[in-house]
Symmetry: D2
Subunit: 308 residues, 4 copies
């Protein structure tokens, strides 16, 4: 068997660990990052990783047909990288977007690249910072021929060669499936958060939330990896008074909500989980001010001034 | 026709105005309030209002069968007043609770008072601070006999004798109907608040929200009294930056939400309108902190410290 | 003053009535519809309406600068009409889309037409089948110059020249404002529907929903045009057993939900009102089947067969 | 060590399996059920289970201080059994309610029984039909002394003596914690159902939902026991066309929703998960009919007749 080789552009939390896991699996990884130091550091720790100074260098280092894997933030960064890559790659080469991305854009990109004979594969990657050791969960979209070149890497990134990866369907289906996965994740997280909030508010019972989270890990219906993580951080601190009550949201949650509306499928849990994050970001404030004023208008109810 | 007379206990924003409207209609109102000054001031401005120094005085001033109308905050204040009144009233007298109250309690109270021969009527009153001039909307629950004694007052409190009041059904149905009314009100208010928030966030259009509210008052599908009030306050200020984004909630909204769960009827709009008020009160903060920690747990996402 | 004249394409429920109202106001309306009979019938009843057999005829009949107003279903029908109109109109002419439409498309169309010197105005029209007699509520987007030519018609369509119409802002802002209006409408409708459903389920009170709807029209906080309509149909039938529990949804409701997600503004009431319509259309069935199977999976709970 | 013995009343899906697991652990189980055959059958299969013909027989068989464990449907059945047991038990005996129950009732019961010197313990039991083999997850509420007598049984019912059971706090906290657990469960289930519904509706991707469920079990963020069960039933059938789209709800889900309202804590996900079950039961139909009629009222939109 020839030595497997891959180009990897984007060495952040996800990309860096994926490079390591591939290298551990024997793959030669031509690693590139906007900041060269990151690539260098990675290469210093692993013989199979070669730090490149440019995308040109990555492409020149790979034998055709090349597999170039992008792990960049969705949006402008990924867009720019695809344009740059398209100018360097040759017909028959394969471009993989393994970051979170909107599946509609994956379909559009694949169409554009097909004109040049470049194949596009969209891969959704779950597993977070734990993937390096546990393996990742990977859902790939693309045609059979393109997947054939990518599957050897999926097998190494997954927990085991025979599980944790899937050729989900045509181009777009990888990012689509990952999008839905994250929508579910939003709902599950919110369900746990609401439950623990109810228990925290029930002060008369003086419940030990860390012990309850740990308890539920064993034989309960809600046992899950998210609960494992929750048990873990509650052990250290269950008051959370030093944590700001602000929750970021990402493209995936929003795209799932858009999809539900476009399909006409009710997803109250996913959509509300997203909206509670919006509210935590202060995006409900104008509506709340309106309500306070309406109450004053019909009932003469007092309105608090700012900062009261 | 004999002169109509009534006892009125509770001279707050609602009760005080109702006393005035009844007095304007020719009713002699024996008015009592925890603080005597309030009753005195009311009586000073209106010949038909007599300020009483005690509930005993109210009851002694009325001819049997007496109608004693309570306008006190629901809960302990109303509970105490009912007990006190029950000790003073005689069989055949009628006790009216015209404040917001949980309909289940109205039913329980009516049962207790029936043992003494005292009739209980629950009246839901809508119209807020505008009722004095516009008349109130009144929904009454109780048996026919009790209602017969109360209807003359309903006719005076309503905008006109033939509309704006209703004998809704048996005891409890007055407060029940008012409860549902307020549940709807919560939903409508939230709908408006969300809509204006979306327009306020669309900065590129530089929409004039005051003009839009005024516009919609004419021939639009959403024209309504709540919109009239909204147009009114937006004229003065549409930035609302000095208003705290905090919205109080009252018993009515919560009871409606409980009722929906007990009946097994889906009321997503009413229930969410209530929950967004909870969130505005900071009651979502623990859940948000949990979510921030979970995101850190699986994705290594940064968590903001308090006050960042 | 010269005689006002306008071209109107689309004579359905909304367009037909708007043609009549403009004609009543003294405007010469060159009316065109896919089916000529509809235009003919309209012209037969009104001297100021001229039935045209083609869009070419409409354009040829109007003096420059022409105002051509479209009242067609959003999507392909409107798209096709705009292309057709663009080929016929001349620089300086004004094309108005008065149907419901996605504001993003209005902006895109205006850009395209600007290249030809044709001005585009998007108008949101509320008022439904009652607009003919009551006047319409109109919110227009476009530049000052284009609006100047359109405002005379807005004044006639509105309930009165000085109210019920607004130049909301730049192109797109008319449809945007109408979109938000409809989102609010969805929320208000759902709030009423939930409230009446709670009262209908409370069989022990034997509430007369028609009387309650009528009652609330007078001095209550929820008084509104939607309540007027509700009181009207409940008078005829409050059981509604012959009405299928299926509620259609339209573009406006969905666009509002998409906008909320894109802006990151929480709109739980608007979004849930939309999703309950989806559920009424059977779009929740697969999710419900999944839940039934999960319950069986962990708890051994029986699952109903289809049609049981 | 003396032989452990317990009385167990209620041998349904949960109770029967718990009897078996305790018997396997060496406990002598005096088993009683409304239908004697069920107890007999259980005893026939297990030497440690003794079928009793009456609650009197159970109580007479146990040495003081007795532990009598109820596994009956919440509500009237449990109420009656507690009254019956209270008449038979002696001071120092311990009555355990291990079924799902409203925590407020547990507190009330404990108060009543305390007057007789009988100790009450409320235990929430999770694990469903899988608990027999995997062990149960148990959360107990009660005072230390009562718990001391119950913990030996918790250790046997749990997956292992040192995990899967917890003395959560005072009386009521066991049922409270289980209630919240089930609220979370509702939210998680709904999140999965929504996600799979979105994928099922995306027909152009021809996704294999069984393979995706299986995939996500490995290293994804949503991996969980509910997903394991889902993967299991989807393997056999992912169309689900023979399953009625009707989802039952139980007390636990409703009590959680009530608790949230009473505490003023927003739980949109839990509450909406419950309401979607209501909707699946046809409880949204009246509201939907109202909406269809309103749309007709303002827009002239056609209304479907029943069965169209």
């Amino acid at each position: 068997m020839t030595q497997l080789q891959i180009g990897l552009y984007g060495l952040g939390r996800m990309g860096g660990n994926m490079a390591k896991r591939l290298a551990r699996g024997g793959v030669t990884v031509y690693a590139y990052n906007r900041s060269f130091e990151v690539a260098e550091k990675l290469a210093a720790g692993d013989d199979n990783v070669r730090a490149c100074r440019s995308l040109e260098e990555v492409v020149a280092s790979l034998s055709a047909p090349r597999v170039l894997w992008l792990m960049l933030p969705s949006g402008p960064a990924t867009e720019a990288a695809i344009l740059q890559a398209a100018a360097l790659l040759e017909p028959g080469d394969i471009l993989v977007d393994g970051a979170n991305g909107y599946y509609k854009e994956a379909i559009a990109r694949a169409d554009q690249l097909a004109g040049q004979g470049i194949r596009f594969v969209d891969v959704g990657v779950s597993g977070g910072i734990w993937g390096l050791d546990n393996g990742y969960c990977l859902m790939a979209g693309g045609d059979e021929a393109a997947l054939a070149a990518v599957i050897p890497f999926l097998k190494l990134l997954a927990p085991a060669p025979d599980r944790g990866w899937l050729h989900a369907g045509p181009v777009g289906s990888g990012h689509f499936t990952k999008m839905v996965h994250n929508g579910i994740e939003y709902g599950m997280m919110q369900a746990f958060a609401e439950g623990f909030a109810l228990m925290q508010a029930k002060t008369e019972f003086e419940l030990d939330l860390a012990k309850i989270a740990e308890l539920w890990r064993h034989s309960s219906v809600v046992r899950s990896w998210l609960l494992d993580l929750t048990a873990d951080f509650l052990k250290a601190d269950q008051k959370l008074v030093d944590i700001a009550p602000v929750v970021a949201d990402s493209g995936e949650g929003r795209w799932t909500a858009l999809e539900a509306v476009e399909q006409g499928v009710p997803t109250p849990v996913m959509s509300l989980a997203l909206m509670m994050r919006f509210a935590s970001q202060g995006k409900n404030d104008y509506a709340a001010r309106m309500l306070a004023m309406m109450r004053k208008g019909f009932g003469g109810h007092a309105v608090q001034g700012k900062g009261e």
